[in-house]
Symmetry: C2
Amino acid sequence: MKKKSAPALKSTLNIAHYLKSQKEFIDSYLANFLPPLHTDPKSLHEAMHYSVFAGGKRIRPILILATGEALQIDRNNLIHLACAVELIHTYSLIHDDLPSMDNDDYRRGQLTTHKKFGEGMAVLTGNALLTHALKKLSEIPSTPKRPSLVHELCHAIGSQNGMLAGQAMDLETQGKQFSKEHLEQIHSAKTGALIQASIYCAGLIAGTSQKILDNLSSFGCKLGLAYQIVDDILDIEGSSSELGKTAGKDSVHEKATYPALYGLKASKQFAMDLVNQAIHQIHDLGPPSKTLIELAHFISVRRF
Amino acid sequence: MKKKSAPALKSTLNIAHYLKSQKEFIDSYLANFLPPLHTDPKSLHEAMHYSVFAGGKRIRPILILATGEALQIDRNNLIHLACAVELIHTYSLIHDDLPSMDNDDYRRGQLTTHKKFGEGMAVLTGNALLTHALKKLSEIPSTPKRPSLVHELCHAIGSQNGMLAGQAMDLETQGKQFSKEHLEQIHSAKTGALIQASIYCAGLIAGTSQKILDNLSSFGCKLGLAYQIVDDILDIEGSSSELGKTAGKDSVHEKATYPALYGLKASKQFAMDLVNQAIHQIHDLGPPSKTLIELAHFISVRRF
């Protein structure tokens, strides 16, 4: 049987405008979602605000809101989840940038947290963002129909196939040979799992059916992997000014990446194929999923 | 009105034997509570097991079980909470020992996690223990009568008067003048809040009344502060072999401690007074609280 191709998209959405307006909406909530800036301990709260407002694209929370649009629920129902996920993402970046990890001085064109506040404070800042995100998430009550969001997200960022597993495998493989299977496992864990869980949790809050939840999970899994592959492509192709961080760091660290194993051209094709496969998974959602589909396409061709 | 004095205790409990047997019970659960040792990523799971089984006294989980005894519920109902709290405590120690924080090579007589597994892996190991603890805690469902344990514990270890606040204030005050009020604030946050929340959460699981919960909270608050004061006394008085870590580190770091501000004798008296005040708070619990009271006394006179 011939596989149905992804819907041919004639974009009517101005993606740049959409991203900007959603980012503004998210940022307006993030400031109050965080602990107040000028409360003790001031250094820690200042570092938390600095790190969160250091120019992030807010791709993960935007994906959460677009999933809500696809499932036809108001974005106000998802903003709590969206903010928590952005804090978790920021925590992972702060720790990734530490001298003992990737040792990056700049991120999004600004000094990394440890360069600005010192290494010890950067460790605490990451921890505090994670802890605060989970505390706020635990305020969304679980129900018999909705398992705990804390559980879903902790699994996605944990040591068993989650983000921390990916980061640890990254450390383990530096400078070593790695197989294609191993590479996919690292990428899916390091970046894919949190994106997948973000989208899945949006479905949980929307109270959608198990079938749609499963489809959203597959969509998020493939999209998350594509996102990391494009990240690795940009690390080679992008200039430092475009990326806002030091380009080419992955090759210095001899990290396991798709371009390193397959070359640039094949990696780009692979990312696009993955996005098309992802979009197939949410075909049943129909017209309301238009924005989510455009976002997925954007992810495969983004330049930053 | 004359204040009722703390009940005069004629100890019938062999505290050393009690601590040993409770530790064995907790350790037998901890091994299965953690992710399996030989699963990928092996380095991370090995570091998690190493850190948790590097000779901890298990004081916090033992306090949880003793609180359960005082409230007359079976310890099996509390072992999940007890294990989660021990993982959270271990996470805090791993990060505290990092070169960018206290820079300790030994803890409990064994190499610290970063000396054994490298600094990057130690950051991830702490993160993974915290994440796993909260994931497992989220499996205990909240009820209208029992608010989320994740929420309580995240607050206790967070940036707003919790453990991370204490750690950040510790960094802020190194080498600086500090007031008595500031010192109590740091200690209560850094060590007191997790001990307080552990005891409070045991009360929540037991389904006890709000009045008793409040009393347990006051008990935990005072006991937690006393615990940290004794820790600082031991840092000066204890030998490195007794402590299993480098003695005298706090004075090298010019940390805010009770002995530094009040001297050893007054600090010891202060710790004992706090424990007596703590014990007053749980007077209403009657004979079943005997073990908990003995544990509190032990904390004020411990040598390790």
